[in-house]
Structures are given as C-alpha cells and as structure tokens.
C-alpha cells in the first residue's frame, strides 16, 4: 500500500514550484452532501471538477512552496486519508492538461504539441465516427446577448415565472374545455405539402426562441455564451448554443433553469400559440399557431425532455439528481463494476461523486444504452429505407461504432491487455462464465411462452331465438333464466295488420263462396273464376295463420332461456330477424379468435394448453382446443368485438363498414367443453392464452426482429 502511496516519478515534481493560473475561477458545488470544486479556465472555457482534498492542494499552489511542501501540508490537513503521491501526480497532470497551473520550469513542448495533435485528431475522428450527429459552429452570440441582457433579467424573474404559469395554466384550461376538438392528427395530415411550409416556419421560430432561452438563462446568472451553431442530427438541422458555462454555476437551481430554459420557452410558445389557435378563425394564422403548438408542445416534450438522450432533459435530470456528468460517469461506473466482477479488484475507487450514487448510475447506464440502441435501430431502418445505399452504409457504420467496436475493444482488453497478464486465465474464465450465463439466459433457459388474443363466442346452432315475423310484443311467456323445453313458447307478438288482413281475407273468402253459390252451373267460366278466387283467399288465410303462429317465439333446443330485456319488451316492435332472447344450451361452445399472422407460428406449432377466460368479472378459466384454422391469411375479422373499437386488441380500418383488420390475421375456431353451471350468451368475449412449451427468449426476439425488418423492407 505504501509503495502505491509513494510514486516512483515523484522526483520529477517534488521540487517544482507551481502556481495557479491567474485567470482560473472556482465555484463550490455540493453534490449529495459532498463538496466539490469546479474550476474554469476562461481562455479555453473548459471545466474541471475537483474533490475537496484535491482543491485544497490546488489552492495552495502559490509559486513559492514546492509540490513536496504542499503535499505534506495536505497530508496534515487530511490525516485520515492523506492524498497519495500517485493521486497528486494524476491531479497535476489533469491540472496541467487543463492549463490551470504554471510551473517554474519549461514544460515538455513536444508533449504539449503531441497533445494538441491528438486533440485535433480526436475532434476529426468524432465527426467520422458519428456521421449522424455533426456540429457546425456558426457565430458568437455573446455581443448580442450582452446588449440585450435586460431582457434576460426580465424573463428569468418572479414576474416571468408568473407570466409563464398563467400562460401554461390558461392553455391547459383551454385544452381541457375543448378536449373534443383536439384529436391527434395522423402523420398524413401533418406532412401535407401545404402544411410543411408552415411547419418549417414554426420550427425555425420555436428553435430560435429555444436557444435564445438557453442563452438568456446563462446570461441571467452571469455566464457567457460563445458559440451558436447547427447540429445535423440524422441530416436534420437542430440549432444549439454552448451553455457549458452553466455547469460552473454554484447553485443547482440556476443550472437546472439554464438546461430547462429551452423547454420552458417552447412550452410558453406552444401555450400562447394554442390560445391563438382557439381564438382565431380558420386561416394562415390559425394554421401557423397550430403548427407552433405541435412543435413547441409535443415534440419538445418527447425529444428534449427525455433524460435518456443527451439533450436538455438529460442536463436537468443530472442536476436534479446531483450527479454531474451523469452519462459519462454512468458508463464508467458500469465498466468499473464489470472490472470489479472480472478482476476482483476492490481497490479501485468507483467513479462516484458521493456514496450511494451507484444505483442511479447503473440504472441510467443500462437504461440509456438500451434506449440509444433502439433509437439507433429505428434511425438505421429509417435511413436505409430513405436512401438505400448511402443510408444503409451510414446505418451500418453507426452500428459498427456503437456495437462492434466496443465489443472488439473489450475483447482486446481481455486477450491482450498487459494489466491482466497475471490473472488472465481467471479473468477469462469469469468473463466466459458471464457470457455463458448470459447466453444461456437468452438462448437456452426456457421461459414461459404465451400468446394471448381476444375471442368472441360463436353462437351455437338454434340457440338464438330469432323473430320470424315482425310485430309488437304482446307478452313474455317465460321468466329470464327459466329452463325450457323445445317448442315451448317464449314470446308472443301481435301484429294488428295481420288480424285486419285476416278479416279482409275472410270477407273475401265468404264473398267468393257466396258468389260461387249464386252462379248457375252452366256458367262455367264464371264459376271457374270465383273458384279460383276462393282458392286464393283460402291460401291467403292459411298463410296468415302460419304467420300468426310465427308470432309466438318458441325455443328450438332445451336449455335456459335468456331474455335480456324481458321487462321492457312488451309493447315494443320487433323486426323480423331480431333476437330478443337466446337459449343457453349446455354443451360445447365455439369461439372465434383472430391472431396476427406474425404470431401464428407458435400457435400452429401446438400449445401445451389453451386457456380461455370469459370476461365475466370473476375468475373463470376453461380449457379450449382448436377446432379449425382458416387456411388463409386474411384481414377480415369475425367480429368488431376483437378490435380496438370494441375493447379488443386489433387495430381496425376505421373507414370500412365491416371489421377489417389493419394487420393480416389468421382466424381460428376454438371449442370449449361447457361448464354446466355457466352458460354464456352468444357474442360473449373472452381472453385466450395459448400456453406454449417454455422456450428461450433469444430465438423469439430474433424472430420478432426479423419480422419487423421484413415488414419494414417488404412494404
């Protein structure tokens, strides 16, 4: 321990008399109760974060005392944890690299030259490595901001806060009052040629105000902004300002306001525009206001407000959690953990600003990585579709730098890093074990595999009591839920026209009969005429009796009768074909299920069991089996009950009359051996779970991914 405490290279610096660079300014920050000092070199604008102990050392460099003396003094100041020589050497290197100290000796000019060259190259490399996000500095906004500084003081003041709150409050109130008028427009409505111009104007205005907001916020608390430029994010221009000076602000509040200023301004613009939109008559002003609301409100919250991407939300979040440099340090912390697991190296200090920050860093590291990956994947697909050759190349390159290059570096570290020479076998074994465990978890470990879908009950033959002839309900002859036999009357209708017709027909028959009786036998032609008339009337009467018989609705099968509106039925007019009652017959029931074609594979491959849970409001699960599978893939659905329109899960074509799914589906017919206790009415809905054999998650993810790609590239 003492050998690490004393450094071999100490002789190089022990006698140096260093002094602080005169222009360096310092601010005291508190993160999670720990004191840190942030130094800034105004010439380069770079910030450096020092611990309290390191700052104590730095503060004592006055050009008179030697490094050795200052170090001993610091050891006396921190007797519990004296700074080691190695730490001091690292600190000095950091301070020197940041041009924060001057020495009494000529520094190594070759080395400084090399540093400059490396930095230049790194800047260049950053462009090459990340072609999807390039920065182009344009001008120095500082003179303008200084000239208009009073605006900053006005905007970022209690008065400004009140105005902002009122504006947002008014807009929210307006939105709630007019919520039915607000419907999210589809992309096709936004991206019309006519609207694009408005959108562009709105974009420029909103983003300009956004950056101005940042600038003024920095100005308000005494900082300076020296760079305004445009960043090309996936070839889309996004303006930016260099507000890094805010990092220097001692207070957490001002730092957060600077980071959030852009969002605050955009929200205010959106709120104002929304109020205009509510008030204005249709016309260009209204359209513009609409687009301003869209960009300032929704896109800002989705894009800038997300802490997982390195935009405004990230900085607000980092300051809120008092975790400076969160993104970078969370990565460092992640690798620190990996190294700790692999090397069993418990001595290396974790890159934390305060104890108990680890959890946040780990969660953030993993979360932001996954998020970035998915965004990158999305962008890659988009690029490849938009510009097949160049886009694909760029997408591949991005994936290479983000995934393959780090993987390669990790591998090289494991295989060739000299630091591991003594423990390589063990480290490799541990790394291999981790990989095998990870691989096993993804590709071997069976995980329960379930496909779920909605089902709708297919009414059984004869269970629907359909009205055969129209008429007013006279009487309901059964009680709801009563057991009935086949042929038992359920409902009696009456049709006043029918009895009128009957009287008419009777009268006609009697008339015909009388006329026939009065005709001489020799009048053969006349008799024949009336005989036919008589036959016709009698046929009509017979028909009418049949129709009258139909007015009594009878059960066709035995079971329990279900008359949903028994009380209100009498006196109501029922059209022919209506179903006022059903008979719930015990016996197998049949259910219709539609499964998106992409998910049909596992279902067709066979399931361990199929669970069907009718939506009854109480837990009840039946075993079901597949009775039939439609051979074709179709978009026609058996019922609206399966669609989002009626509480199901499938998106449906809103324009179509019949249920037409937006995604192709396969239709299945399931059957359930009925439970005598419960009988369900036709059209009842249920949730179906196809429980497959447990299978590893890897192949499933892969299938989902390839299908996504196939869909994207196929269309």
């Amino acid at each position: 321990m003492a050998t690490a405490f004393l450094s071999q290279d100490w002789y190089r610096v022990a006698d140096l008399r260093l002094r602080r660079h005169g222009d360096v300014t310092t601010a005291r920050h508190v993160y999670r109760g720990e004191v840190w000092h942030v130094l800034q070199n105004p010439q380069s604008g770079k910030m450096h974060r020092l611990t309290d102990a390191a700052h104590a050392f730095f503060a004592r460099l006055d050009g008179r005392r030697s490094v050795q003396d200052v170090w001993l003094r610091c050891c006396a100041l921190f007797p519990d944890r004296p700074p080691s020589q190695t730490e001091i050497l690292n600190l000095l290197a950091q301070l020197h690299a940041g041009d924060l100290i001057l020495g009494d000796r000529l520094p190594n000019l070759t080395e400084i030259d090399r540093r400059t060259r490396e930095e230049d190259r790194r800047t260049l490399l950053a462009y090459v490595k990340n072609p999807l996000s390039l920065r182009f500095p344009l001008f120095d906004p500082e003179p303008f901001l200084r000239w208009s500084a009073p605006v900053a003081r006005l905007v970022f003041s209690p008065f400004g806060a009140v105005v902002w709150l009122v504006l947002i409050g008014a807009a929210l109130a307006g939105a709630i009052l007019n919520r039915e008028a607000l419907a999210l427009p589809g992309m096709d409505q936004i991206a019309t040629a006519g609207n694009l111009a408005y959108l562009a104007v709105a974009y420029l205005v909103v983003k300009a105000l956004h950056e101005l907001g940042h600038g003024y916020a920095v100005k308000r608390w005494g900082g300076e902004v020296h760079e305004f430029g445009v960043m090309m994010l996936v070839f889309f221009p996004v303006p930016y300002v260099d507000a890094s000076q805010a990092t220097f602000f001692p207070g957490k509040g001002p730092r957060m306001i600077v980071s959030a200023a852009g969002i605050l301004v955009e929200l205010a613009v959106a709120a104002a525009a929304f109020l205009v939109w509510l008030a204005a008559d249709p016309g260009p002003v209204r359209t513009l206001a609409y687009n301003l609301t869209l960009i300032g409100g929704i896109s800002t919250l989705l894009f800038n407000g997300n802490p997982l991407l390195r935009f405004d939300g990230y900085f607000v979040f980092a300051d809120l959690m008092e975790s400076p440099n969160l993104g970078q340090r969370s990565n460092q912390f992640f690798w620190h953990l990996v190294r700790r697991v692999l090397l069993r190296d418990r001595d290396a200090p974790p890159p934390l600003v305060a104890p108990r920050e680890g959890g946040l860093l780990l969660v953030y590291a993993v979360g932001s990585f996954l998020y970035r990956m998915s965004v990158l994947l999305f962008i890659s697909i988009y690029l490849t579709l938009a510009m097949p050759v160049i886009g694909a190349a760029l997408a591949l390159w991005s994936l290479f730098t983000v995934l393959i290059l780090p993987a390669f570096k990790a591998l090289r570290y494991l295989v060739a890093d000299p630091a591991l020479d003594l423990v390589r076998a063990r480290v490799l074994a541990r790394a291999a074990l981790l990989l095998v465990l990870g691989f096993g978890a993804v590709f071997v470990l069976p995980v329960p595999h379930v496909t779920t879908a909605d089902a709708v009950l297919d009414p059984a033959e004869g269970s629907l009591l359909r009205v055969m002839g129209s008429g007013f309900v006279e009487r309901v002859l059964v009680a709801d839920g009563q057991a009935i036999k086949p042929g038992q009357p359920v409902l009696e209708l009456s049709d006043p026209f029918l009895s009128l017709e009957r009287r008419l027909a009777l009268a006609e028959r009697d008339d015909a009969r009388a006329r026939l009786g009065g005709l001489p036998l020799a009048d053969r032609n006349g008799r024949k005429l009336w005989q036919e008339q008589l036959g016709f009337s009698e046929a009509r009467l017979a028909d009418l009796s049949r129709r009258e018989a139909m007015l009594v609705l009878r059960a066709e099968v035995a079971g329990r009768v279900h008359v949903p509106e028994a009380a209100s039925l009498p006196g109501r007019f029922l059209q022919q074909g209506e179903v006022p009652a059903t008979v719930l017959a015990p016996g197998p029931s049949r259910w219709r299920v539609a499964i998106p074609a992409a998910d049909a594979g596992p279902v067709d491959a066979g399931s361990r069991r199929i669970e069907l849970a009718p939506r009854l409001g109480r837990p009840l699960v039946y075993r079901a089996r597949i009775l039939a599978r439609a051979p074709e893939v179709t978009t026609a659905l058996p019922s609206f009950a399966l669609t989002t329109k009626a509480g199901g899960g499938l998106l449906v074509d809103p324009a179509a009359e019949s249920p037409i799914s937006l995604t192709p589906v396969v239709n299945y017919l399931l059957t359930v051996e009925a439970d005598p206790a419960v009988t369900l009415p036709g059209g009842a809905r249920a949730r179906v779970r196809f429980v497959h054999d447990p299978s590893p998650i890897g192949p499933r993810l892969w299938r989902a991914l390839t299908q996504t790609f196939l869909r994207q590239f196929g269309s």
Partner: protein, 661 residues
C-alpha cells in the same frame, strides 16, 4: 591532421512525439509484411566491395598522405550532410581506413566486413556470423563515420571489451588523425567531459547512458534546446559549471545490438544521488523511527511473514505509532509513509539476520544474494531499509538515495541521430527493431560456409539426470581431444553443472559475466584441446573462442546447450560459439523437464511437456518446449510494447515537469 569544425552544441534526435495511435499504426505495419523489414542479404561480392577494393589497390603502395585523406574526408562529409552517401563518396575514405588498418594493425578488413560498414553507414543492423571480426568492423566503421564528420560512440558488451578495443585499435585512429577514448566505470567524472570530445568513444552502453542522464538532470536540464537556446544565450556568457558531460548523441555503433536494443530494452536505469531532498528523512528521524519500531511487540502490534520479507502492522500497532510520532514533521507525519518506514524498520530488526541475509564488513553492510550466496557489496536495500540496518548494527547510516533520473534503452537509443549495429542474431527480432527503432536488418553471408553439426536433442525427466548426462557427454567429448563449452542459463545452473563435473572428476573452468576481464584468459584457453568450459549465456555472448589446430582436427568446439532460454536468439548465440569462420563444430542439446523454461509456466506446462515426451519422444518434447519459448518471447515482446506505451503515458502525465530524461 584533420581538423573538425565545431559541431552543434548537443546534437540529439528530436523526440518523435509518437501518439498511441501512431505506435499502433507502426505495430500493424510491421506485422503486415515482416519480411520486408529484412534487407536482401549481402555477400562479400558486391559492387561496393569491388569499388573499395579498386580504391585500395590504387593507394595501397602509396605512402600515407594526410592531405589526401583530409580532402577525401571533406568530400564525404559534404555528401553525408546531404543525406544518404553514395558508394562513390564512401569508397575512397573507406579504402584509406582499410589501408591504414592493414598498415598499422596488420589486419586488412575482409570483403564481408567492408559490406558491413556500408550497412552501418545506412543505419542498419548487420547480422554477421561469429568470428567474422566484429571488433575490427566496428573500429573501421567508427573511423569511417568519424571521418564523415560524426562523433561516434561504440557500445561494447562490457567495460573490459571497451578498454581492449580502444587500446587495440588506438593506433588505427591515431594513424587517421582521430582521437579515441574509452569510458569505463572507473573513469573519473571530472575527466569525462574532455574524453567525450574525442571523435570515437568506446564504452559499455550503461556508462554513456548514465552520463547522458547526468546531463539531462544537471543544471542545463529543462531549458530550451537548439535554436531556441542559441537565441536566448545570444550575447551572454556561457553559464559556468553547467557544461554538459556528453557532446550529444550523434552516432552510435551497437555491438550485440539485439541484446542491447531488445533484451535489455525495458530495464530501467536509475540515476540516484545522496541528497535527502525528500524532506525529513535525516538521521535523527531514522533513529526515532527505529526507536519507535523497537517498542512494537510481535503479535500485538505487527505480524511478520518471513517468506515474503514483509511485516504487517495491526491496528494497535498503527495507533501506537501514531502516538509515538505525535508532533513529528515532514514525511513521518504522513500515516502511510510512517507505517511503511516502521515496517522497514521492523524488517531490519526482526526479519533480516546477520550472516544469512547480510554481513557487516569494513565498507558497511554487504547484502548476501539469496540465490547465489555471493556478497553484493555494491547493492543497497531501498526505501530506508539499508539505513535502518546500519543503525541496528551501530554504523553511521548512509544517506537515503533519491532518484534524479530514470531511463531505459528503449528511450535512450532512439535519441541518437545515427543508430546502427551488429549482432549475430537479429533476424528473429527484425520486426521489433523496426517498430521501436526504425532499424532494418541485413544479413551478411558468411565468408566461409557453415559446417556445424547438430546432434539429436535429448530430453531427460529431471535436472539431476541431465547434469549426469551432460557430465558424461563432456567426458566423452573431452576424451576425443575436442574442447567443450557447456552453456547454462543461470549462475546456479553453472554451479550445478560444476558439481556434476566434479563428481565425474573432470577438470573445467567456469566463466561468468561478473568478472569479464579476469576471465579473458579462460576464453583464450577455451579453444584448446580437451578443455571444458562452463559458461552462462551472458558470458557466451560476444566471446570469440579461437581453436588451435589440434582442437580443430579433433572435431572443433563442442557446444552443449543444457537449457532453452526465454528466447531462441540466445540459444542461437550460444550455438554460434562453434563453427566460426567455417571451423568444424558440433552443437549438442540436452534438456530436462525441470528446466526453468517449463517451470516458469506453471504446472500445466509441465504436464504438457511430460505428455509430449511420452507421446513424441525427445523430438516432440523439444517441439513443445520451442512452443513455450515462442510463447515466452512473445510475452516479453508484448511487455516491452506495453512499457513503451506506459512511458508515453508517463511523458504525458509529467509534461509539466519538463522534458523527460
């Protein structure tokens, strides 16, 4: 007499400021096509040799003419300043040197030596066989380079060889009007300044390196160099007492280049001084610490680990120390340093024993080397341990030495403006030589064909059996009248071997690297009939064993390799002791499973070697050992590359403290 014009004050190559990425590019380039790093081999029959021969023929019968020599030298110097020297400019000067050598030394350089000088001029490493006359080549090369206007350092393997060569070839340089000097360990520091002003300086590498370190850490250090200094110094008198020792690093000819530039590349050389500049570690402090340590009780305050030569303080011990050191100032006030010092004091008190670990002599404490049991009076324990021992033994404590400067060959040699060298084995290191030093290797075809024989390799299960077999073989070979050279890897192995020879009752002599001068006689006699010589590899390198006629008739030198080394070049060096200049000779290889090569790798290597021995016999086992050897040399190479990277990092870290020495 040739008068040399004043050259630049401190010629030295500007550091190239390689970044890690540059180094990576170089490493990749060198791996892409390693064969291109080797130049086409040259034999004695080249156009250049014919040109030199023609020039020699033209002036051979003429008397020595200083004016002609000066004119030719000036002509060469003018060309040399412009870059690569054409054959036509070099040949006349080289001819003059050759003629002078023939006249003064009675040795006219052979064709192959002339070819080598061409290589040296081009800044290449010449790989030439043993016995091809490397000493003469180096001298002629140094003279020619000096005539071309350079200050030449000739780096020999040790001080003895430097002194010998400087003396042997002195007349040659004198005849050419060149000043020659030799720097050894014993050269007094005051006079070195003037010695280095001579045109050619013979020395072992580390002498010049330390003088360079002194220059770098001296009063001139940390100031601007070159034009910048000239501008600043314009019109002012030169600072007194600040004159550098060296005249810069202009040109160097490295003998045994692969050993110096590769094998020793990573060894750090530390220049230290006795000033206690690190504040507070003076005698009273040390006495006080020792007193405090005497008050500590084993078990309660500390635990000791004899095997690891270390003491661990317990919490109680730490607290006791802190109490005792209350009010202390300086380093002792810093807990970790105080505890470290107390630990050292405890080691001195409780672990190191007189008679086993050290002796008290008139000169003070002398360390006993653990592995060899020899006294090492020059060595010192570091970090205060030595001083505590002296106090414990009632001697006056010496000063704690502090580092003034630290450098490795890897960093030192690239600073020469012109770097070239010779060795017997360079091919295997060609890639690394190019990557680190930008040197290319050219093989020089031997003057006479190589007629060495190689007997089949033998592998024995244990070291004891091996030494028996070695002794038997040596006895049989010596009986035929042939001289025998037994090569070992370590001093300890040499002793084992000696014991085995004693058992058989053979007369032999042991050659070790420690006393090179005394043992020059042994080498001279090693080629006699039936002579048996045991030598470690370092002694083997660079020794030129001359055979007498009877020994040649009896089959020449019989070299017995008793172990494979960490890299194959050293084995080849040892094997190269026989068959010099077309002499007969035989190489025997007798290895064992106990060899360090296998032991160092751990149990798995042992199992592998045993398996190979059972399955593949001696040949198979030898192959397995060669694979282990390749593994080890690759690991060493990686370690060197890593060291270079760390040095770059260190340079970056310490940039504020000025240029690193």
């Amino acid at each position: 007499m040739v008068t040399l014009p004043e050259i630049e004050t401190y010629p030295e190559r500007k550091p190239d400021g390689l970044t890690d990425r540059d180094a990576l590019v170089l490493a990749v380039l060198s791996r892409l096509d390693p064969r291109r790093l080797l130049r086409r081999p040259w034999g004695g029959d080249t156009a250049f040799v014919r040109a030199v021969r023609a020039e020699i023929a033209a002036i051979a019968d003429l008397p020595a003419d200083p004016v002609r020599l000066r004119d030719r030298a000036l002509c060469l110097r003018r060309r040399a300043r412009r870059g690569r020297v054409a054959d036509a400019a070099l040949a006349p000067v080289l001819a003059e040197v050759c003629v002078a050598a023939g006249r003064v030394l009675g040795k006219m350089p052979y064709d192959v030596q002339i070819v080598v000088i061409r290589c040296l001029f081009d800044g290449e490493i010449a790989e030439m066989g043993t016995g091809e006359g490397k000493s003469l080549t180096a001298a002629v090369g140094a003279a020619t380079l000096a005539l071309a206007g350079r200050r030449v350092h000739v780096m020999t393997v040790n001080d003895y060889l430097a002194a010998r060569d400087a003396e042997t070839f002195g007349p040659l340089f004198a005849a050419l009007g060149l000043g020659v000097a030799c720097i050894t360990d014993d050269t007094p520091p005051e006079g070195r300044n003037t010695l280095y002003r001579r045109d050619v300086v013979f020395s072992a590498a580390k002498n010049i390196l330390f003088d360079y370190l002194r220059d770098q850490t001296g009063p001139q250090a940390g100031t601007l160099r070159g034009l910048g200094r000239k501008l600043l110094a314009f019109g002012r008198p030169r600072a007194q007492g600040g004159a550098p020792i060296l005249q810069g690093l202009d040109a160097v000819i490295v003998d045994e280049a692969d050993s110096v530039l590769i094998d020793q590349a990573a060894t750090p050389f530390i220049l230290s001084a006795g000033e206690a500049s690190l504040g507070g570690l003076d005698e009273p402090t040390l006495r006080e610490m020792l007193g405090l340590a005497r008050g500590l009780v084993e078990g309660r305050d500390f635990r000791k680990s004899e095997a690891r030569h270390r003491v661990m303080l317990t919490d109680a011990g730490r607290a006791r120390l802190a109490d005792g050191a209350q009010g202390a100032r300086g380093l002792v006030a810093v807990a970790p340093v105080r505890e470290h010092l107390a630990g050292q004091a405890l080691v001195a008190l409780h672990i190191l024993r007189r008679g086993r670990d050290y002796l008290v002599t008139d000169q003070g404490i002398a360390i006993i080397d653990e592995s060899t049991g020899r006294l090492m009076p020059d060595r010192q324990w570091s970090e205060g341990l030595h001083q505590f021992l002296e106090l414990k033994e009632g001697l006056d404590p010496g000063e704690i030495r502090t580092t003034l400067g630290r450098i490795t060959f890897q960093r030192f040699f690239p600073r020469y403006r012109h770097l070239c060298g010779m060795t017997g084995t360079a091919r295997a290191a060609a890639r690394e030589l190019w990557e680190i030093y930008g040197l290319r290797v050219r093989r020089i075809l031997p003057r006479r064909p190589d007629i060495r024989c190689l007997t089949p390799v033998r592998v024995l299960p244990s070291a004891a059996r091996k030494w028996c077999v070695v002794a038997d073989l040596a006895a049989r070979l010596a009986a035929t009248g042939a001289p025998v050279l037994i090569g070992t890897r370590t001093l300890g192995a040499s002793q084992d071997c000696a014991r085995a020879l004693d058992d058989v009752g053979l007369a032999y002599q042991v050659l070790s690297a420690e006393h090179a001068a005394d043992e020059a006689g042994i080498i001279a006699g090693a080629g006699r009939v039936s002579r048996i010589t045991v030598a470690t590899n370092m002694a083997g390198r660079g020794t030129d064993i001359m055979l007498d006629d009877k020994a040649r008739a009896a089959g020449g030198l019989q070299v017995i390799l008793t172990e494979l080394h960490g890299n194959s070049r050293i084995d080849r060096q040892l094997a190269g002791r026989c068959g010099r200049q077309g002499d007969p000779g035989t190489v025997h290889r007798i290895l064992s499973l106990d060899d360090d090569l296998i032991r160092d790798e751990g149990p798995w290597a042992m199992t592998l070697a045993r398996l190979a021995l059972v399955l593949g016999g001696a040949g198979g086992c030898h192959l397995a050992m060669r694979a282990l050897q390749a593994l080890q040399s690759r690991r060493a190479e990686r370690a060197r590359a890593n060291l270079a990277r760390q040095e770059r990092l260190r340079e970056r870290q310490l940039a504020l403290s000025g240029r690193l020495e």
